[in-house]
């Protein structure tokens, strides 16, 4: 009987320890968010979004150039990466047995696990080294390469979820195969694909490493993609590692903006998934 009680006691102790691990795991998230709000929110103002940085040592100013740069580069990356990702995803879902599909799937997994800094080196040797100057476009290409495998794998999975009966019904009604794929299958899977795309955007919007020596960053407003360009994550990095108190204030505020952006994209993605789930149910 004593032994039984001991075993039950041990089970309870272990449960408590597991609960503790959940608490410890949630703690960093809480601290990061609280710190971001405490140190960042005070610096957020209209100026922060609309003005250029003030010269070192002066107060005021903003990061308008970085916001514009981030939007432009991520937008360009979407234009390149999302169509390729969706196309490859449709291919490997609609022709799953083909050798090409198997290979593409494997390669996408390899690319997905490749450190983003390596992709940055690739974009540098490919574009920057040949053009002999840093450019926002090189940064966009690096971000697009990061997006492709993510978009592809979710597209493929979402299309797989579309019931075959839908496809058969469309074909039986005389739809051509490509119209079946685009109008019936793709449309049905669209909310799920949108989720994948939004998550991919959320991830590359926060990427710094592949931009360090492609877009490089800039202190000026630049809207031309063949020039060095600023980006929010780059700004956070530069200001966080810089020596001035004022810069650190910028860094916190920019990080707060960045994280709000990323979380909004994540929430948007989750809402799209919910619609997809309802569609399936």
């Amino acid at each position: 009987m004593r032994r039984r009680a001991f075993r039950r006691f041990k089970s309870n102790v272990m449960t408590a320890l597991l609960m503790l691990s959940v608490l410890i795991a949630v703690l960093p998230l809480v601290f990061i968010l609280v710190n971001l709000i405490i140190k960042g929110a005070g610096s957020l103002s209209i100026d922060f979004f609309t003005k250029m940085p003030a010269p070192a040592g002066e107060s005021g100013g903003g990061v308008a150039h970085a916001i514009v740069g981030s939007l432009l580069m991520v937008g360009t990356a979407c234009l390149i990466g999302i169509p390729v990702g969706i196309g490859a995803g449709i291919f490997s879902a609609e022709y799953p047995g083909s050798k090409l599909a198997t290979m593409t799937r494997f390669v996408a997994d390899v690319l997905n696990g490749t450190p983003s800094i390596v992709i940055g080196v690739f974009a540098w040797t490919w574009i920057v080294a040949n053009q002999k100057h840093f450019s926002g476009f090189a940064g966009s290409v690096a971000l697009a390469i990061l997006m492709v495998p993510m978009v592809m794998r979710t597209t493929e999975e979402m299309i797989r979820l579309v019931p075959n009966s839908l496809r058969e019904a469309a074909l039986a009604l005389g739809f051509q195969r490509w119209r079946t794929s685009l109008q019936i299958v793709l449309m049905t899977a669209l909310p799920g694909i949108l989720t994948g795309a939004l998550l991919a955007v959320a991830r590359v919007a926060g990427e710094t490493a592949p931009l360090l020596f492609t877009a490089l960053g800039s202190q000026y407003m630049s809207t031309r993609l063949n020039e060095p360009m600023a980006a929010l994550p780059l700004t956070v990095y530069t200001y966080a590692t810089g020596p001035f108190e004022e810069w650190h204030r910028y860094a916190w505020a920019a990080a707060l903006v960045l994280i709000i952006l990323v979380f909004l994209l994540n929430i948007g993605a989750r809402l799209a998934t919910r619609r997809m789930a309802r569609l399936r149910g």
Partner: protein, 330 residues
């Protein structure tokens, strides 16, 4: 039936039917060609990436050969490069990160699949999943201004007092150090290990734990003796996947590790990693040899992560095949 009967008559109407059939096959062919093109683009891209890294590092590979990964000198002015401290730093920081993250994330995963009240399971998993959404540079910022001061004033002195007799916790306490980088890495890889091992645990058939419970096991004993052993391979896969993440992580590590080309026994001393050296020196490199050496580092890093990820996927794939579930873990 009636619709089927009218079908041939409509198609039999002189030429438009055949023309539309022809058009159909042409449309299908164009569609497939376009998809094939996007699909081919991905392997071509990877091939191109390998080619660029290979040719980009040619100069350094020919000059240093394999000595590159066994020597420690890093002198851009004298154009002598050895990556041993970088490789050591990458491996050690990732290993330490796993040492911290694995027990925690397995604890969370087990609690969420076996013990937590049903309505709390998904929300807690979502909240911890948010950690994976935080950009690396934000971790770096938080690490510099919040984590390091806390570690330096409270945790490190305590560790030094406790384990100061070992070489690992000796010497002056710097803020940015191998240990600081490992702690931030641990926080960053935790959500990945947690979510994959949670999926693996969810794929364990209920009959496993029911059988253990029916034999009189306590809930912990059921987990210990039936659930975890069943999921062992998949959990191993999750851990290795986390390792892959940790190896390539750049920004937060660059900001916290102290960036010194040195192999130190003490974890309080600054170090360097492969990803961090590329991040720090690539934009400022002046000579061809320096670029080439950094590209060589990228090539080595790429090789290591591909190897590690392949192992992880193989393990997870074996579990997924056996249980028919957990495909989203891939």
């Amino acid at each position: 039936m009636t619709t089927l009967a009218t079908e041939p008559r409509a198609a039999a109407a002189p030429s438009p039917g055949t023309r539309s059939l022809e058009k159909a096959s042409r449309g299908d062919r164009a569609f497939r060609a376009a998809l094939t093109l996007t699909s081919v683009a991905i392997p071509v891209l990877l091939g191109f990436l390998l080619w660029e890294l290979w040719t980009g590092s040619a100069l350094a590979r020919q000059t240093f050969g394999l000595d590159f990964i066994t020597t420690s000198e890093w002198d851009p002015v004298a154009e002598r490069f050895g990556a041993l401290p970088l490789i050591f730093g990458t491996l050690l920081s990732s290993f330490l990160a796993l040492l911290i993250a694995v027990p925690l994330s397995l604890g969370v995963a087990i609690y969420l699949t076996e013990f937590a009240p049903m309505p709390l399971r998904q929300p807690i998993a979502n909240v911890i999943g948010l950690l994976a959404a935080i950009p690396s540079v934000v971790y770096g910022l938080w690490g510099i201004f919040v984590l390091i001061p806390v570690l330096r004033t409270t945790v490190y002195p305590f560790l030094k007092q406790l384990f100061g007799f070992t070489p690992f916790f000796q010497g002056p306490i710097y803020g940015p150090s191998m240990l600081s980088a490992s702690v931030i890495l641990a926080i960053m890889v935790m959500p990945y290990i947690m979510s994959v091992s949670r999926e693996v645990l969810l794929a364990v058939p209920p009959s496993q734990r029911e059988a253990a419970l029916a034999l009189g096991a306590t809930r912990w004993e059921a987990v210990r003796s039936a659930v975890v052993p069943y999921a062992r391979t998949g959990i191993m896969g999750a851990i290795i996947l986390g390792l892959g993440r940790a190896l390539g992580e750049t920004m937060a590590v660059t900001m916290l590790i102290g960036n010194r080309h040195e192999i130190a026994a003490s974890l309080f001393a600054p170090g360097y990693t492969m990803a961090a050296v590329i991040a720090n020196e690539f934009a400022e490199a002046a000579t061809d040899m320096h670029f080439s050496a950094l590209t060589y580092v990228a090539l080595v890093l790429f090789g290591v992560t591909v190897l590690v990820n392949a192992c992880a996927r193989l393990l997870i794939w074996r579990v997924a095949r056996r249980s028919g579930a957990g495909s989203s873990a891939l």
